[in-house]
């Protein structure tokens, strides 16, 4: 096992008891942030996605 892996597994052991609870809280928060983000992006999103995608053609590249 390398030094890096050793220190990682040591850290894991140390944080284990709280890790699960923290992860749940974090993912709930991220869901809220993500919902908010999607709402914002809806505002700027290309109006006709299908046509936009269809017309996006790029020939002659390296």
């Amino acid at each position: 096992m390398s030094d890096r892996e050793r220190s990682k597994s040591r850290d894991k052991g140390k944080d284990e008891p709280e890790a699960t609870a923290e992860a749940t809280v974090e993912s709930d928060t991220d869901m809220e942030v993500l919902d908010d983000l999607l709402d914002e992006i809806d505002e700027v999103l290309e109006e006709n996605a299908e046509e936009f995608v269809k017309n996006y053609v790029q020939k002659g590249g390296q």
Binding site: S2, R4, K8, V33, L34, D35, L37, L38, E40, I41, V44, L45, E46, A49, E50, F52, V53, K54, N55, Y56, V57, Q58, K59, G60, G61, Q62
Partner: protein
């Protein structure tokens, strides 16, 4: 000791003229390049000095794809030392030569701003909205490049470069990919993959850049003293929006090449089938797929990158103990550790993870299939250089992606050249003597100062022509003729 890894990037931008699906991309690209409002000089790019058909393996055919008369029409050198021009059907920005990977990120980002400013003016003058995208694929089987360039010693055998670089290039994709919805080029179907480019790579080694693309491109065009240097022209990477990711891509690759030159890579890690592994790594979102090794056995891309990290952390400690390389090792360590345990935590630094989180959010919220055009539209829009429309920019504005530079720093880099390479001389000449500059190339500038002959200033050493050597001289020169007298004296 390895030679200093001077480096730079060249990016072809995707282009769209709204409301005009039949637009001519070469004409639109010319319009964009001509519209750039910042400091620049339109020059003749000295094609006779370039030889993209020369092959590093030794069997050159010099006329291969050499001169494109259309492309030669629109060429400019910017005050930051960059080249802005039309490459066939795309506007392209080639960054000035940078001293280290952190600086290379700054000047690549400056290119996005240059393109955006050019698109704004092009839209105003044409009355049509011109949009530019920093990506590498149209989702229909057409790809365009984001190339990287690294200075190598001519003494490094090119066979070694090929052998050692291939496994590195294939495995680095796990942290260099910009993400893509779907697959192309007849690869197996997939909802989403790590990179934009992997599907297009069909050879291990070759001179081509537009078809049958090779993992290692053999173009031998050093743009510097050919007796001393090579330039490794890397064509397999994605265009990145994330600054941290670009730092990782450029930094780890420069480090790999330096370690190679110093004999500090203990094992080439030969892969059984690098071309297959290339797209397989890109398609494997689990990051668990084993790659067959040539000597028997297998390992994942992540495991192989772990080995490089271990070797190069030691190499940096011993040979390159400088802040930029220590920062790189730290970022690389964090990235590999999180890719192993919680990859989604890297949504703040890796384009592909940021996209996966975002698109996954849409799939969940709106119950979309991955084949829905809305996801492909989101995919394209992530790369829009317009800060209002580009989804990457929206993520940064919300504080959801980490940057390395402030807006002001990027803005300054549009008009100020790197201080420690020959780009300094080029950029200062654009700012100070624009009327006298008539032609340029990476390794020379040509001036018209009256008289019967044009005067050519060769710049064959990438680290000369820097601020320390020529700053005072440029400050003191009254005009270009005076500058040339002082350079001769």
């Amino acid at each position: 000791m390895a030679i200093h890894k001077v480096l730079g990037t060249e990016t072809e931008y995707g282009i769209v003229v709204r409301g005009d699906p039949g637009f001519n991309p070469a004409a639109a690209s010319s319009l964009v390049v001509n519209s750039y409002p910042g400091a620049r000089v339109k020059v003749q790019w000295s094609y006779e000095e370039e030889s993209p058909g020369r092959d590093a393996r030794g069997f050159g055919h010099d006329t291969y794809g050499l001169i494109d008369s259309e492309g030669a029409v629109v060429n400019s050198v910017l005050a930051n030392g960059a080249r802005l021009y039309v490459d066939h059907a795309h506007p392209e920005y080639s960054s000035p030569e940078s001293y280290d990977p952190l600086e290379a990120v700054l000047y690549d980002k400056a290119g996005e701003r240059v393109m955006h400013q050019a698109a704004v003016v092009a839209s105003e003058t044409s009355g049509r909205q011109v949009s530019l995208y920093k990506n590498n694929s149209d989702g229909k089987g057409n790809s365009y490049g984001a190339h990287e360039n690294y200075l190598l010693s001519r003494e490094t055998p090119f066979g070694d470069v090929i052998r050692y670089a291939i496994p590195f290039m294939v495995t680095r994709q796990i942290f260099t990919g910009a993400g893509k919805v779907g697959r192309e080029n007849d690869r197996p179907d997939v909802d989403f993959q790590i990179t934009q480019r992997a599907d297009f790579f069909e050879e291990q080694v070759g001179l081509e850049t537009t078809l049958k693309r090779p993992i290692i491109n053999t173009r031998d065009e050093p743009h510097s003293d050919p007796a001393r240097y090579r330039r490794l022209h890397v064509i397999i990477g994605d265009a990145n929006l994330s600054e941290v990711q670009m730092f990782l891509k450029l930094g780890t690759t420069a480090l790999m090449l330096a370690a190679l030159e110093d004999g500090a890579i203990p094992d080439p890690l030969d892969l059984s089938d690098p071309v297959e592994a290339c797209w397989q790594v890109s398609h494997d979102l689990s990051l668990c797929r084993p790659i067959q090794l040539d000597g028997g056995g297998s390992a994942t891309a992540l495991e192989l990158q772990g080995r490089y990290l271990e070797w190069f952390a030691k190499y940096v400690e011993k040979e390159l103990d400088e802040p930029v390389w220590n920062q790189l090792i730290e970022e690389w360590e964090r990235t590999l550790a999180l890719l192993e345990t919680e990859p989604m935590q890297l949504a703040d630094t890796l384009d592909w993870v940021a996209k996966k989180r975002l698109f996954g959010g849409y799939v969940a919220r709106d119950g979309l299939e991955w084949s829905n055009p809305k996801l492909r539209a989101l995919d394209l829009q992530y790369h829009d250089v317009d800060p209002e429309k580009g989804l990457y920019h929206r993520l940064v504005a919300r504080g959801e992606m980490r940057t390395l530079y402030t807006d002001q720093q990027v803005e300054d880099a549009v008009s100020t050249p790197p201080q420690r390479t020959r780009a300094y001389f080029r950029g200062r000449c654009v700012s100070d003597f624009p009327d006298s500059l008539v032609a340029a190339n990476w390794d020379s500038l040509v001036f018209d100062v009256g008289g019967s002959h044009l005067k050519r200033v060769p710049m064959m050493e990438p680290l000369r022509g820097d601020a320390e050597r020529v700053g005072a001289l440029l400050d003191e020169a009254e005009d270009a003729a005076d500058l040339l007298r002082r350079l001769e004296g």
